[in-house]
Symmetry: C2
Subunit: 189 residues, 2 copies
């Protein structure tokens, strides 16, 4: 691998973490390389930088495109595909969240929904359904929050994050303001 040491460290780290993130080493390395590269790279440049086979690069790029984590770029009078990552790290976060939800959460949600429609006959089944119901409600609540928040522009999302738990105080304060101003029901929660 023929890269400046700092860049190499970053690329190798993403390779190692790949397996923990549900992608493989090569995919992680390619992503890292594209992320820090000042220009889009073509497949052959990736082969040279990482010293892996052309076919491996091809398959890994496909996978990254399936995740919507890399973009295709073209140059005038050049037939080759060039690859890059989105500029905005918040946009990358949104994509990552969306894809992980799709792969890691949605299938479970739909299995739970189906099972919860079935009739429980034995006590064991009734208890199981009760537990699955708890799990289902939790996941629903999380995904509802996510769906609500995911469309926010970056500045608002960032603002929301920096509020953190202060929001709960604000909620209470707002209840007071509201109820003093004109009697109103409490905000849910």
């Amino acid at each position: 691998m023929n890269l400046p040491p700092m860049i190499q460290a970053f690329v190798l780290h993403f390779g190692e973490m790949g397996s923990r993130w549900g992608i493989n080493r090569t995919v992680g390395q390619i992503y890292a390389l594209l992320f820090i590269s000042p220009e889009p790279l073509c497949a052959e440049q990736i082969v040279e930088a990482l010293e892996i086979s052309r076919s491996n690069v091809s398959i890994s790029l496909r996978e990254l495109m399936a995740w919507n984590l890399v973009l295709l770029r073209h140059r005038p009078d050049d037939r080759r595909d060039f690859f890059t990552t989105p500029e905005d790290v918040w946009q990358i976060l949104r994509t990552l969240a969306e894809e992980r939800k799709k792969r890691e959460v949605d299938p479970t949600l739909s299995v739970l929904r189906e099972i919860l429609l079935e009739d429980a006959t034995t006590p064991a089944e009734r208890h199981a359904q009760k537990r699955m119901g708890e799990m289902h409600r939790l996941i629903e609540q999380l995904t509802t929050w996510y769906d609500d928040v995911k469309g926010l522009e970056t500045s608002r999302l960032s603002g929301l994050l920096s509020m953190g738990r202060k929001v709960t105080r604000l909620m209470e304060a707002s209840n007071k303001v509201v109820s003093i101003g004109r009697a109103r029901p409490r905000v849910k929660g």
Copy 2:
């Protein structure tokens, strides 16, 4: 596998999802089984229910304990270990978030921190450091929010989630309250 069909479906699903969640099939199945079981189970009962080897159960339980996802229980006059999952699904969520952060985020944060301390000499390195800086700031912001929110009791956390993006309006409204003095912030709609 000798389980009621509804329970079997749930257990098999967790097994299949296991690889997407960074655990393996057996670990996923055992977790699912413990989660819906009305009583703690001992290793031998897991062997019978899932029809897998005793040693596989032993190793998988170790892994689940390393994740803090299962608890040990004992019965009077019985030397065997019995295993169960925490009752409260919100507590499970907290544990899961904590462990995933520890494994999937913290190592990257510390690699980024180290690299950002180094001196960039070439323009490529300077650009790489700029990008890593963006990534680092994003992760810091997310983990700061997480650290802030993770200690909330369930009812507050749940309330915060059900507010979703409405919070941003509340933030703006609260600015107005502060600036105008006693205008009433809208909570709903």
